[in-house]
Amino acid sequence: MRLEYFQMIDKVVELDLEARTLRTANTVPCESPIFEGHFPGHPLLPGVLLFEIMAQSCGMLLLRLHNYDRMAFLASVDKGKLRTFVVPGQVIDVFARLEHDGSGYARLKAEGRVDGKLVCNADVTLKTMPFPAPELRGYLLSTAERIGMPMGDAVIGTAERAGNLTHV
């Protein structure tokens, strides 16, 4: 996770194209200028960045499902919950599921866990549109490669789905 560059996703753990789900693993860095202000002596990952991690996981899932032919932009976050503190060094396991793929928008559910404990969840709406700039599509494709997004048809990962989104 490179907070200053908004690179929130470290790697894809599981992608299920049929179930339209994605699981990502994301390690909060031990050091960042962000923690100098948030907060002195009590470093915490800002809650808005937990929403960003969920939104990016939702976005990467949607882009993959659309084969990177459209860009997804965050439009709204509903029922957002920040349930406990997340501190430097912790690994956030994010699970995203596409609930509805509409015309020009999509609704997804996402949740984040640390050591199996639910730390955040939200309903995320993404607006989709053609890529406004070709270099943006290239950047997203390179990001997909960096995080290990599978490009084939197979399901990857062995994580159990039991318990996913049970609190959403």
Binding site: A75, S76, H100, G102, S103, G104, Y105, T125, K127
Partner: protein, 93 residues
Amino acid sequence: MSTTFETVANIIAETCDIPRENITPESHAIDDLGIDSLDFLDIAFAIDKAFGIKLPLESWTQEVNEGKATTEQYFVLKNLCARIDELIAAKSA
């Protein structure tokens, strides 16, 4: 069984916190009810789910922007409901 209009009006009232009595078949979602594009995404989501359809918002928007259609054709509620009924019929065909 509630009519398409009743379902849509209830969705709009609940989603946008608009008094149900202010919503009529003649209401224009944008001009009369003040619904913006983001709120309309929530309405579209609820309509898609309620009727099992996919409102073609993108093509409607494109038609309006290109001058091939007016907003009244899609966003006056009686017309919106007629489109929804067409989509439901097409799904069942």
